[in-house]
């Protein structure tokens, strides 16, 4: 109990844990096979069997489904997420920094920000559809709102949690203007900014999938939507798996960027 330092999804797990985990996975796979293909306890209208899932994967990857092949869906979704995310972050981080730095900016912006903040990202979807229709523009708008709020909040927190003595040291050293922003404020707030980016990215991804579920021409949400309408459980599962994989890859990429951007941080 004392030495245990692992968390769900945490880094270091013992060798025993790896074996137990692998064994559990194997048992689950066998159980899945037995319950579906072998005995049919779970009907394939409810949950797909392993061969069905593999077939669905082949179909999506090679022949295409819901107006596109796997890579087209993934690329389209990723492109929209990156666009909305980038637009939100370029607006949100500077605003958050300014609000953290100046109580006056904070006071002025807060009424607007506090109005937007409690609205869940997904609740922007109907408004985006009314304003911009079912196309890509509406999705970028929704993603923008989803990613904007966390990037503002965390950049703000980043500035507010800078150690006061670091600010005093920088004043003592005569740092001014742009150089202060670039060399003190930004790096000091960077850990929080990255927390915000991670939350923003996750919110962007969730929101996009939801928006695509409501209606889209292409994208993983479209795959989910089409397979739900076709009552095609194997394809639903494949859609979910790739929503997970794409989300995981994005989050990991961001973690790599963070490690490059902040080499001074220890573990």
């Amino acid at each position: 109990m004392a030495t245990a330092r692992s968390t769900p999804g945490g880094a270091s797990r013992g060798r025993r844990a790896v074996w137990v985990g692998a064994a559990a996975f194997a048992v689950a796979l066998v159980l899945w096979y037995v319950l579906t293909t072998l005995t049919g306890v779970i009907g394939s209208a409810r949950f797909p069997s392993p061969p069905e899932v593999f077939a669905a994967f082949r179909q999506l990857a090679l022949d295409g489904y819901a107006d596109g092949r796997l890579h087209q869906h993934v690329l389209h979704s990723s492109k929209l997420v990156l666009m909305g995310f980038a637009a939100a972050v370029t607006a949100g981080v500077p605003l958050g920094l300014a609000m953290g730095w100046s109580r006056r900016v904070e006071a002025f912006v807060n009424p607007i920000f506090l109005t937007i903040r409690p609205v869940p990202p997904l609740a922007w979807i109907p408004l985006a559809i009314v304003w911009l229709g079912l196309g890509d523009a509406a999705k970028v708008m929704v993603i923008w709102f989803a990613a904007f709020v966390p990037s503002v909040i965390n950049a703000y927190t980043g500035v507010r949690s800078i150690e006061p003595y670091l600010l005093e040291a920088s004043r003592m050293l005569g740092v001014r203007g742009w150089s202060f922003v670039r060399e003190v404020l930004l790096p000091a707030a960077l850990p929080h900014i990255f927390t915000g980016l991670r939350l923003s990215l996750q919110a962007s991804w969730t929101t996009l999938v939801a928006a695509e579920l409501v209606g889209a021409a292409l994208g993983l949400g479209k795959v989910l939507n089409a397979s739900a309408q076709d009552i095609f459980p194997a394809m639903i599962l494949i859609g979910m798996v790739f929503v997970g994989i794409a989300g995981g890859v994005m989050t990991c990429t961001l973690a790599l960027v963070e490690a490059r951007a902040a080499p001074w941080r220890q573990g």
Binding site: E163, Y165, L166, E168, A169, S170, R171, M172, L173, G174, V175, R176, S179, E183, V184, P187, A188, L190, A262, P263, W264, R265, Q266
Partner: protein, 265 residues
């Protein structure tokens, strides 16, 4: 000439509509190239004195001036060494030391020379491209002292710089500071609550009273140091063994003990 003058300085904090006086009529001059230490019970406002000299806080009444100019803002002419080191974690040792010079607009070639010199002087060679978190506390404080010294400041303000270090490191740093100060004399205001440290390092020790802080007594160490020739002694424990040192230390101890309320410790 760069002296620090506190002229009838008072400081009052307002909280919940009530006034809390923290400093009451401090008048003191730290003369050019003099090393003055302030000791006093915690909360007596000694750190506030230093921060006012730095321009990080301001007196409620009275005047603080450095080199004849009233202090209105912080600046590299009054370099501060903070207790928490206050190094920028995202800058290497070299960049931390170089930062102030860069802000002053010193040319690159000169910067390189000065930073290089101070790194040698402080025994930081080989650590130029290390980040602060990779260094021990003692090494970090060396960097912080180097960062202050390299600016060639009029005055040096040190706020319990060794307070966060362990006993051994602290001793080494004290000896090094004496060496540095002798090679490179500066006007220094040094805040500490360690009496030995104050006596060992300074020319004069200012003993402050409990809040609201006033100057209880100013003790001349320099004359004793000279007459007893402490400077011939290499190590701190040898100095601390001298009867004259023990005598001064005990005197300051007694003054501080008188400041304490019966149930205060």
């Amino acid at each position: 000439m760069s002296n620090i003058v506190f002229d009838a300085v008072t400081r009052v904090f307002r909280r919940d509509g009530k006034d809390f006086p923290t400093l009451d009529g401090i008048s003191l001059e730290v003369r050019d190239r003099e090393f003055v230490a302030i000791v006093g019970p915690s909360g007596c406002g000694k750190t506030t004195c230093l921060r006012m000299a730095a321009g990080l806080e301001f007196p409620t009444s009275g005047r603080v001036s450095v080199g004849g100019k009233e202090v209105t803002e912080p600046g590299p002419d009054r370099a501060v060494v903070f207790q928490q080191f206050a190094l920028f974690p995202w800058k290497t040792v070299w960049d931390n030391i170089d930062f102030g010079l860069r802000n002053k607009g010193v040319l690159e070639a000169e910067r390189r020379r000065r930073v290089g010199d101070i790194i040698t002087l402080m025994g930081l060679e080989g650590y130029e491209s290390a980040f602060p978190h990779q260094l021990s506390g003692g090494m970090q404080q060396r960097v912080a002292i180097a960062r202050a010294y390299v600016l060639d400041p009029d005055v040096l303000l040190m706020d319990e710089p060794f307070g966060a270090l362990d006993a051994q490191t602290r001793t080494v740093m004290q000896e090094e500071l004496v060496r540095l100060a002798r090679k490179n004399p500066r006007t220094v205001l040094f805040i500490t609550h360690a009496v030995e440290e104050a006596v060992y390092l300074s020319d004069r020790v200012v003993v402050m009273s409990r809040r609201p802080g006033t100057i209880r007594e100013v003790i001349d160490v320099a004359s004793v140091r000279q007459s007893e020739n402490w400077d011939r002694l290499e190590r701190i424990e040898e100095v601390m063994d001298q009867d004259s040192f023990v005598h001064l230390r005990t005197r300051i101890w007694k003054l501080l003990r008188e400041q304490q309320a019966p149930n205060d410790h």
